[in-house]
């Protein structure tokens, strides 16, 4: 079976725009969590977020794309441009139908949707932008990337909250195995608008802390919820043979993947994250001893942290594998989190260094990486969970 390899990275993260800036900030442990300043959050019970700064859409996108795009779509289009440039693709040997797009979305275009719903309620239907017809849909990032890069092969979107980003990358691998030479994949979310933040707060899972250093503490006894962030990553995934033939730079292989779903709440049966991890490792053909680092989902909720830690300890032993959560610097990025963790894992494998988790005093017999640490192994495991039972695990391997 053909392999799927990553040849390009495009990152928009709260602590760095562009893969290089993000990676440098992450290795320095620079957190971007702070008071949300995109609108007045004074009256909200949760006021902290990981806001992307230093991203001027006008500098990255043509004028005509601005009236029709939500903030998260602008991030996705810029990141897709960078992923394409990074992969240094030669289009002359490819037709549009060779090229696919597979993204994940958790929220759609919340800010855009809110603005147009306000027009609808205040002034009536004739005041609603025609672009509302697609700008707030889950599928919009895949659609806009497809149009901008003339990619007309397998195009789709996956929606599974925070697990969806890994599912989208796995779907890209599936498309490659079915014959697509190249697929742009990943996820990008931003729900940091008044309506979006209210929706996130209704989950009951956001931290209400006001001190950025104590607001998102996964695996810490003081865990008190999570901080929402925005951004994510877009990756260029190619058929391994094709990439090798054209002499592409390869970050690594999407070596294994599995997704499971949890039993109904209250059923008394255990969750299925463990099965996802086991199946992903089996899919990659690697044993736990070959895994050099686990990028944890890191929910920041006591029950969810315990469940994840138990799975890791069960499979790898107490303090048996380095575990990290660079998302403690960005907040949880929903569909963007998995792809950003995959990009981070590939950079970690390239530079042989594990990026740190910040602010956390770890519990649960985990070997949590609190300062950059050498990485000697060539395999990394990325975990992601979505609300209401989604579990995904993805294995990347250095080239």
């Amino acid at each position: 079976m053909s392999t799927a390899v990553v040849t390009g990275l495009g990152v928009v993260a709260p602590n760095g725009v562009g893969a290089g800036d993000y990676w440098a900030a992450t290795l320095r442990g620079r957190s971007a969590i702070g008071r949300i300043d995109l609108f007045d959050v004074e009256d909200y019970p949760s006021r902290l977020g990981g806001v992307v700064t230093g991203f001027d859409a006008e500098n990255h996108l043509p004028s005509r794309l601005l009236p029709q795009t939500d903030r998260m779509t602008r991030f996705a289009l810029a990141a897709a441009d960078w992923a394409v440039a990074d992969a240094d693709i030669d289009r002359s040997a490819l037709t549009a139908t060779d090229l696919g797009v597979s993204t994940a979305s958790a929220s759609g275009g919340f800010a855009f949707g809110q603005k147009e719903l306000e027009h609808l309620c205040a002034d009536g239907p004739s005041h609603v932008s025609v672009y509302q017809s697609f700008a707030w849909f889950y599928a919009v990032n895949s659609g806009q990337i497809s149009i901008r890069h003339d990619m007309r092969g397998p195009i789709g979107v996956l929606v599974a909250d925070q697990a969806g980003g890994l599912d989208a990358i796995a779907h890209a691998r599936r498309s490659v195995r079915k014959g697509a030479p190249l697929v742009l994949t990943g996820g990008m979310d931003s729900a940091l608008s008044p309506y979006g933040l209210a929706a996130l707060i209704s989950s009951g899972m956001l931290s209400t802390a006001d001190d950025p250093r104590h607001a998102y503490l996964p695996f810490d006894r003081k865990a008190n919820g999570h901080v929402p962030g925005e951004g994510g990553a877009i990756l260029t995934v190619e058929d391994g043979d094709w990439a090798r033939e054209r002499g592409a730079h390869v970050y690594g292989e999407i070596a294994g993947y599995a997704a499971t779903f949890d039993p109904s709440p209250g059923s008394g049966r255990p969750g299925n994250l463990r099965r996802a991890v086991r199946a992903a490792l089996a899919d990659a053909g690697v044993g736990p001893d070959e895994v050099g680092v686990v990028f944890a989902d890191a929910a920041g909720d006591a029950d969810a942290d315990r469940a994840e830690a138990e799975v890791i300890v069960d499979l790898f032993g107490p303090r048996g594998v380095p575990v990290t959560a660079p998302k403690t610097m960005t907040g949880r990025l929903y569909s963007g989190a998995g792809p950003l963790d995959v990009a981070t894992a590939l950079l970690a494998l390239r530079d042989k260094v594990i990026p740190p988790t910040v602010n956390v005093v770890a519990d649960y017999a985990l070997d949590l990486v609190e300062a950059p640490r050498p990485l000697t192994a060539s395999v990394a495991l990325v975990l992601a969970r979505g609300r209401q039972g989604f579990n995904s695990a993805l294995v990347v391997r250095a080239p």
């Binding site: 004028s63 005509r64 009236p67 005041h127 932008s129 025609v130 672009y131």
Partner: protein
């Protein structure tokens, strides 16, 4: 009786730019711009719908969708809009 409003090509370009972003630069003299296909200016059918909707709201006229759908150039859009404006005068 008030003077009838007529929208010029620059007026329409301004409305389109506000609704759908700035036009693609084209190699055409200003007086020929009205004949350049909207597609060459980078405006698709949605951009045209968005702009016609803005014109309807601003001038209190109604532009039938099937007629808007036939528009391919700024001159055609101008003719459609100015005909309606003349009727409501």
């Amino acid at each position: 009786m008030s003077q009838s409003v007529r929208l010029s090509i620059p007026d329409l370009m301004t409305i389109l730019a506000t609704c759908a972003g700035a036009a693609e630069p084209v190699d055409a003299a200003a007086e020929d711009l009205g004949e350049v296909p909207l597609a060459d200016l980078g405006y698709d059918s949605l951009a045209l719908l968005e702009a016609s909707s803005a014109v309807e709201r601003r001038f209190g006229i109604s532009l039938p969708e099937e007629e808007v759908a036939e528009v391919r150039t700024l001159n055609q859009l101008g003719d459609l809009v100015n005909d309606r404006l003349a009727q409501v005068r």
